[in-house]
Subunit: 326 residues, 2 copies
Amino acid sequence: MKLAVIEGDGIGREVIPAAVKVLDAFGLELEKVPLELGYTRWEKTGTAMSSDDLETIKGCDAVLFGAVTTVPDPSYKSILLTIRKELDLYANIRPIKPLPGITGVTGRSDFDFIIVRENAEGLYSGIEEIGPEFSWTKRIITRKGSERIAEYACKLAKGRKKRLIIVHKSNVLKSDKLFLDICRQTAAARGVEYEDMLIDSMAYSLMMHPERYDIVVTTNLFGDILSDMCAALVGSLGLVPSANIGDKYAFFEPVHGSAPDIAGKGIANPLAAILCVKMLLEWMGEARFQIIDEAIAHVLQQKIITPDLGGTASTMEVGNAVAEYV
Amino acid sequence: MKLAVIEGDGIGREVIPAAVKVLDAFGLELEKVPLELGYTRWEKTGTAMSSDDLETIKGCDAVLFGAVTTVPDPSYKSILLTIRKELDLYANIRPIKPLPGITGVTGRSDFDFIIVRENAEGLYSGIEEIGPEFSWTKRIITRKGSERIAEYACKLAKGRKKRLIIVHKSNVLKSDKLFLDICRQTAAARGVEYEDMLIDSMAYSLMMHPERYDIVVTTNLFGDILSDMCAALVGSLGLVPSANIGDKYAFFEPVHGSAPDIAGKGIANPLAAILCVKMLLEWMGEARFQIIDEAIAHVLQQKIITPDLGGTASTMEVGNAVAEYV
Ligand SMILES: CC(C)[C@H](C(=O)O)[C@@H](O)C(=O)O
Ligand SMILES: CC(C)[C@H](C(=O)O)[C@@H](O)C(=O)O
């Protein structure tokens, strides 16, 4: 098993070393392949990621990724998007689950759902035209793309409460009817109970009634927006991990970005990155992955927490404490 | 002054009569022109709105609108979208402000901001192709469209805290850079302080730090999603009004939809519709518009509230109580 480790920019360079400590504590046979990629490198060299780098990544089985800075500069394309595309990581999985003793903005902890975000098409098609008077982007929905994400969501639902909610905007985007229809058909064929909701209503409902949901399947950008929003339910963007899954590769990244405002201070919360390690272990079939939940519960109880959660611990102190428990 | 009154479908038929009671209480010289339009009519007659209806609307100065049911049926186009387009209602204004004694999911009431949603382009372009294997929608950003919404947002900002936040996704949608640049330039030219934020981060930040914002300007669908989400901050979708403004006409509608699940029971909350009347009066230059805030505060204090707020009053009871105070 070969794991590419990409810290990226900003706090990626802080949370990933902490997460790697935790991973190392499992003592697995695993070759780590560090790669320096991202915006910082682009600024220095004009290349955020070379084709050699991409080949190196393709020679690995999985990727642990921190964060990269993205900018609107049309000549800079996020390596995150390139990697998602090149490795065909079509399912972006974002579990929204409270951590013990931490409550988010609503004060509730009675929810536990997973956002399954289609990760390859929609508004991320890259098909666009940019001009000074007029610009456009094509939002693409395909049968193939919708089918495979629907299948993935149903597979997850079957291992849980067998309940799926399909989120779309087909009252305005008639093209979303394709997505909706395919998700409905797939759910019916797989014996998964389903409902659907408009994205605007869903944004409201997730805040009002987060306990109602189990598996939420949606298109690319809607999943992006909902998952950040739901981090407020959990308490902090520093607590939400994600997995980008394809048929061959898997790629794990915290939902948070490179956070230039707090980068370099050693105060970034590494728990999202550590939860990425948990998702990686689960994906690898490593039975002990749940120890990470225990370890995090222990560390939270001991109040070894970063400033975003009201504590004073550094990124590395949290990482070390979790690793030690493991 | 001529006001078209369109109840529409579902609870639109309940909240608008209650709001009209309140409007009538002001004793203004105002001709009301009732129109029966929407999905119910489409089902019966195959036409949701005729071109004659549209001419009647264009003969009015403003519209008070309830809600219409929308469906993914490609042959049914929402009359709401048609009217927005035909009257060139390019600015969708959604004030997010707590009502006295009511707190939303976060328990806070220290926020007061306005979402200024571009209302004519973006993903609502209507330019799409639908097929069984492949569908797409074009998301359009134009200089003209961005300029006029930016001007509108700056005008509002100047009457308030002079602070603008521009919400976009230009790290992925390079076409959004046009929107971002124009908003920045307009704000600079108008002497309005500005910042910008990515839509995903903004969804998170509005939940975490709603007190930070004053005027939020964004593209069409992002504004749609954020405003529904923010109704959870206020406490209920039944509390958030909106105005669709153009250079010639104005159109007022509650943010909530036709809510088929509770329609016909007389329990829908009319406060959003009543707050639409307040926005209408303000738009007309009627100085007494703020009496509505007072009246609502009074009625809330007396616990004359609908079931969504934990009360037992009917839609009409709330409407009558507000009207009486006025
Ligand atoms: C950084 C950005 C390109 C990315 C996205 O939009 O997908 C991020 O927001 C995410 O959710 O992983
Ligand atoms: C009903 C629908 C077409 C509409 C929209 O998407 O704009 C609604 O959600 C709104 O926000 O007014």
